[in-house]
Symmetry: C2
Subunit: 341 residues, 2 copies
Amino acid sequence: MERELTIVVDGMGGDNAPACNIEGVVNALNEREGFRIIMTGDEEALMQGLSSYRYPKERLTIRPTTQVIAMAEPPVSAIHGKKDSSIVVGMGLVRKGEADAFVSAGSTGAVLVGGQLLVGRLKGVHRPPLACIIPTEKGMTCVVDCGANVDARPEWLIQFARMGSVYVENMLGIKAPTVGLLNIGAEEEKGNALVKETMPQLKACPDIHFTGSVEARDVPSGAVDIVVTDAFSGNVLLKMYEGTASALLHIIKKTLKSSVKTMIGGALIQGALKETLKRYDASNYGGAPLLGLKGLVVKAHGSSSAAEICTSIFQCLEFSEKDINGKIRRALEDAAVKAEA
Amino acid sequence: MERELTIVVDGMGGDNAPACNIEGVVNALNEREGFRIIMTGDEEALMQGLSSYRYPKERLTIRPTTQVIAMAEPPVSAIHGKKDSSIVVGMGLVRKGEADAFVSAGSTGAVLVGGQLLVGRLKGVHRPPLACIIPTEKGMTCVVDCGANVDARPEWLIQFARMGSVYVENMLGIKAPTVGLLNIGAEEEKGNALVKETMPQLKACPDIHFTGSVEARDVPSGAVDIVVTDAFSGNVLLKMYEGTASALLHIIKKTLKSSVKTMIGGALIQGALKETLKRYDASNYGGAPLLGLKGLVVKAHGSSSAAEICTSIFQCLEFSEKDINGKIRRALEDAAVKAEA
């Protein structure tokens, strides 16, 4: 008998836990059918939080845990030491096949380390990267790796490109998605050692729609569907995107309040501007999956709202229904066969 | 007899050369006194461009050159091969002491390589970084290195911090400027190998006001006065800043044109918004100097307008008048003495 699609949600991870985690779970259960949720965390806190909501109770189980991994804890020792934490127990359920996916807004480091050590990599995967979707002028772009593997090697980046292509083609519905290698210029001789070594190898992959270097300046306009990079540069890219947008909107808001004239003007444009900027709201994009694991692990923002937790759960459903992991496995196998031939 | 302060301007470098270079030079000469300019480049083109302007002719010399280094040329061979290019001849004038500074909007690679090979490093300088000023919510922040030295080493980053501190303190007038090391998290264990190795060394420098890791997300709000990083991440940071701001303003402008209501609103806020965003105009900040050379070399944007060329010239005047190079030399000597003690 096939078990129902099951998502584990870390009840304790994130700046707004457990309140937003609970609200996100409740909303997901009320909005869609065909799956169940297990929440890991402090039983009393979760029960109390849930008591004020109406939701299909038969689809939610609480798996009590007694420990929490804090944001700043060294990840490896936390994963080894806190066996009864919401993260370790949650990932354990995925490893044992009792659940399909794990969502956490908790410590990024612990989620990354746990994903590799507890859930485990698909055969042949060097390193599982975090794949993050950002909104662009044209639509959406996937940055891979946006936070997992600093000091990367060329063969890792090749796999990031391959796994990212499967993810984007199936989850975003972009046929033959284009891949750019993040670089600091368009010319051939530009780049650090990693980029220079990776460039010809990416060019030689017939299954990857590689378009060459992409400069950070061209990412927000949507120059490529997938940006491939090491996690350090990828994270700088992502965080600079958030930081610049936030700072710019902040000064524009301040300007709108600077005089009666601009306040009237601001009132007239407010509705349309909100509508436009909605597309730039992180909660629409859910979290970032670690690609290349045997099960699905999704890292949601530390500052996740209920809406973002809910979107991350829906993302897990789609990821599982579309069998992204199976497709990644086959893509890697095909590439390995071709490389040997 | 002391010769007058002399700035060499590359007449042929940049997307808008020579027209904008000529206009920028003319404006600089007309606006301020106490310096002279040498333009390198095609004599006929420069003479013809200049013929439509009024300016103090006795303060401008044309140094005819017959070659141009193109944007995409491999820099090292270009510097070695094109001895009569506007860049090589211009830098030669600085090396020979016939000029104090060289400004180019041409090939970044050629300017960087030429700076090191032709102008030469100050004693003890490992690698001269590009120091770029970006506007923030609080004021201004200097990113060093924003484009010269990829695959950097810890001891280079220490010098970037030290030279950047001298530059920011004297050019931006910020006493005891704070220095952050670009990182992908605030926790101690975060970062790539370079960051982890550099962190304790920066902490141990009594002359640097080091505040620890700075995340890209906090740069646009002005979290630190100086961001220290390798040139790859620094360039990603800088270009993402430009790209995000440009994409965001683009979609806001589109929104303002979406209906009669928003058009009226847009008209009411236009003036104030322009005033606010003026501070974010690259032409106000001039180019990026290469710190740690025996003479001054300033790289202006490839897309430099006349205003940016003019600002870059004024930047050279200030840099020379304030003897930034002398101060950098002394800061490095002091640090070396203390390290030995």
